[in-house]
Amino acid sequence: MKRITAPLDQDTIDDLEAGDEVLISGTIFTMRDAAHARVVELIRTHKKLPFELANQVIYYCGPTPARPGNPIGSCGPTTSSRMDSFTPLLLEHGIKGMIGKGERSTPVKDAISKNGAVYFSAMGGLGAEYARAVKSSDVVAFPELGPEAIYRLEVDDFYAVVIDDAKGNDLYSQYHFS
């Protein structure tokens, strides 16, 4: 188990290998389908982005509403492949890590190694468990999107597994089904 801090520095990323289990602490940003479409549109039209993308980790997640007194509701990962068409552009603009679940497309895997980034899988369907790793959350953009808004999360020991490392290794390719 490796302990790493987000945002990610290049030495940390270069040290990660497909199959490594990690505990992530620090700051990550949720972004799913609708937020991806909006951020990519802002990039294409050269508008101001809701947060500085350099070295950041995006978490593909749309949490349930927080109960009063709780930092967040259930917050497991959503399927990553739905973001594939947006991902290469975000990597070119500085995103260094993504957390989701499931396989990525070949263009995404190529963009990950080309940009020295990393893709992690969190444990799908364990939303209640992941709520325990989130210390605080606040909406940084698109509140009108509800669960699809961008939330900044402060996380502590957030468990994930490296699927695609910066050297171009892919964990899923080890398995029979891939």
Binding site: P63, T64, A66, G73, G76, G102, M123, A128, E148, F177
Partner: protein, 278 residues
């Protein structure tokens, strides 16, 4: 005639959606425990125990099992001796809205083109049918999109036969891969027509995990599909192992002499379903 009011229906549905999202049904928990015992891959075994642990956190009542609290799919069987006071569709949607609001559940329903969220998790998917007796039976499954997106339907032909069906089911699971939260529960509808086979596949998920068909030939087919799926090596959450599916459930219905419609409904491990009668 027994009168059932729309308020009774709404409050029952509200209670069902909340309970389904916080308490994993006994049949699913038992199937996960059995799989954890028999799984030989150490990592896969640990993941199965983590899934069971997640259910223990959720059942305390403050955090739903999964952040994708689904679109509510509701099957209603109305007894012929029942008189419903009010609009049953409105009553069900009112119940869904109340349950998702008061249960702190995610609202995941949007217009398909504008993608604007309806904000209430309605409209629910409602299937009404008639039966005999003085009761209404309401069965609910809250279906997440991660698994629903991997479901598939194919209009096959009689020549494809059992081999064709098995290949289609196994291929559909293979395509779901690690993305849709395995171990899966696989609902298969064979026969009827296009919309009926999809409905059969969905309805089969209410049968109960590990319960085989009462029809001997169908049960044999379920067992064969389960074995072939578990040979894929996808494993719990896609990290390898022998437990790719917990159960395959097949429902059949006669079809046209020229047809062989087949639908495969992929259900994630967080297989939330609940029934009650009024």
């Amino acid at each position: 005639m027994r009168t059932i009011t729309s308020v009774q229906i709404a409050t029952t549905v509200a209670k069902l959606v909340v309970e389904a999202n916080y308490y994993l049904p006994h049949d699913v928990v038992q199937a996960l425990k059995d799989a954890a015992e028999t799984e030989v891959d150490k990592k896969a075994k640990n993941i199965l125990y983590k899934i069971i642990e997640n259910h223990k956190i959720s059942k305390k009542g403050s955090l739903p099992l999964c952040q994708d609290t689904g679109i509510a799919v509701i099957f209603v069987e109305i007894g012929s001796d029942v008189k419903i006071e009010g609009d049953i569709y409105r009553a069900i949607n009112r119940g869904v809205e109340m349950g998702y609001r008061d249960g702190y559940l995610r609202k995941s329903v949007a217009d398909p083109l504008s993608r604007e969220n309806t904000g209430t998790n309605t409209p629910a998917i409602i299937h009404l049918s008639m039966t005999s007796g003085p009761n209404i039976k309401i069965s609910l499954t809250t279906k997440g999109a991660g698994s629903e997106n991997k479901s598939a339907l194919k209009m096959m032909t009689p020549a494809d036969g059992e081999e064709g069906i098995v290949n289609f089911v196994v291929e559909t699971v293979k395509k779901a891969g690690a993305s849709a939260c395995p171990p899966y529960i696989v609902g298969v509808g064979i026969g009827g027509n296009m919309e009926t086979c999809a409905l059969l596949a969905k309805q089969s998920l209410l049968r109960g995990v590990g319960v085989y068909s009462k029809v001997k030939g169908v049960a044999k087919l379920e067992s064969r599909m389960l074995k072939e799926i578990n040979r894929l090596g996808i494993g719990p959450l896609g990290f390898g192992g022998n437990t790719t599916a917990l159960s395959v459930m097949v429902e059949t219905r006669p079809c046209h002499i020229a047809s062989l419609p087949v639908a495969v409904c992929i259900q994630c491990h967080s297989a939330r379903h609940k029934s009650t009668s009024i």
